[in-house]
Symmetry: C2
Subunit: 199 residues, 2 copies
C-alpha cells in the first residue's frame, strides 16, 4: 500500500505537474483541499471542469475564451485598425492589465525557434498576414518579449509585413516606472539613453 489512497495519490501526481508545485507542495496542497472539501475542493473541481470543457482559442486572435470569437475581438468598442502582436495569452492579459491598448490582439503562441523547430506556420503568422490584408489594419504593434527569441520573431514579422503598407511599431524600451538606475542592467540603460527624449 502506498502512503495515501490511490485516487488521492493520483490527484497529488496531477497537481505536481503544475508549475510552481513539486511533489511535496502538491501533497500539501491536496491535504489542504481535503480539509476544505466542500468550501474549496468541490468548487475548484467544478470550475476547472467547466473551463476545460468550454475554453477554446479565438478563431481570429488566438486568445483563450469560452466563445468561438473572444470577448475582445467581439467587442465593437475596440479599434479594428490596430493589432497588438503578443507571444502568449499571458502577455495579452498583462497588456490588458495595463489598460492602455484599445485595439485588438494577435497571439502568436510562442516565438520562432530553430532549435525547437518552431517556424512561422506554428506561430499563426500566416493568419496575421491574412488579418492585416482583410481587416483594414493600419498599425501592427509588436509587443514581444525583449528576449533574443522575442526580438528575432519581431524582426521576422516586420519583414513579412514590409510590403503590406501597414505601419509596424514596437513597445518602447527604457527605464521601467519606479526603476532605479543602479539596479538596471546595462542593456536597458543603453537602450533608454539611445531613445532619450526632450524633457
Amino acid at each position: 500500500m502506498s502512503q495515501a489512497p490511490r485516487d488521492i495519490e493520483q490527484l497529488i501526481d496531477l497537481m505536481a505537474r503544475l508549475p510552481g508545485l513539486g511533489p511535496r507542495s502538491a501533497r500539501r496542497a491536496v491535504l489542504m483541499l481535503l480539509k476544505k472539501r466542500g468550501a474549496v475542493m468541490a468548487p475548484l473541481a467544478r470550475v476547472m471542469a467547466e473551463v476545460a470543457e468550454n475554453a477554446r482559442d479565438c478563431r481570429f486572435c488566438g486568445n483563450i475564451s469560452s466563445a468561438e470569437i473572444c470577448e475582445i475581438c467581439s467587442d465593437e468598442r475596440r479599434a479594428t485598425g490596430e493589432i497588438c502582436v503578443v507571444e502568449d495569452v499571458a502577455d495579452l492579459w498583462a497588456m490588458e492589465r495595463g489598460h492602455a491598448f484599445k485595439g485588438r490582439y494577435h497571439v502568436l503562441g510562442g516565438t520562432l525557434s530553430a532549435l525547437d523547430a518552431v517556424g512561422p506556420e506554428e506561430l499563426r503568422i500566416p493568419v496575421l498576414l491574412d488579418r492585416v490584408r482583410e481587416e483594414n489594419v493600419t498599425e501592427v504593434i509588436l509587443a514581444l518579449n525583449a528576449t533574443v527569441d522575442g526580438q528575432t520573431t519581431a524582426h521576422y514579422i516586420a519583414e513579412v509585413l514590409e510590403n503590406t503598407g501597414v505601419q509596424v511599431t514596437s513597445l518602447a524600451q527604457g527605464v521601467p516606472i519606479g526603476g532605479e538606475l543602479d539596479y538596471l542592467d546595462d542593456g536597458t540603460i543603453g537602450a533608454a539613453l539611445r531613445a532619450r527624449r526632450r524633457f
Copy 2:
C-alpha cells in the same frame, strides 16, 4: 473587462488559495492548464471532483479514505494492539512512507491550543479513549511533532491514558539519519546525548 475571461479569473482565484501558490503563480498554473486542456486539465478536474465527492474521514482513526472505514483500519494484517497517535493525515502518510509501523493509527486533527480554543473534544481524544478501552489495545505510540503544541498534547494524552493500563510510548528523539552534528540545533543534540545508548 478584467484581463482574463470571468470563468478563468474565478479559476485563478480558487487556485491562488492553495498553499504554495500566490496570485501570480496561480495565473501561471492556469495558463499551463489551459495549454494542456485535454492532457492535464480535464483529468485533473475529474480526479479532483471524484476525490471531493468520495473522500471521508475514517470512522475509527480519522484517516482520509474513500470508504467509511479506511484501508488501514480494514486491513486484517495490521496489528490491532498498537495505536499510533498522529496530529494530521500528513503525519500518517509520513509514518506509512517509513514502512516501519504495522499497527493502526489515530489522527487527532491538530493539537491542543488554548489560543485557538482547541480542546480535547475537538481532537478526537475521547474517541481515542473509547478505542483503547474497546479494541484490546496494549500500546499507544505518541508520534506527535516535536513542537511545543505537539508535546503539550502528548503529555495531555499520556495523562488521560494513565489509568487505562495501556503502555504509552513516544518516538525517540535524536540525531536524524544522515544528520551532521554541526547543523543540528542544540536541543536535538541535548536530547540525543541524554538518550544515548551502548554502542
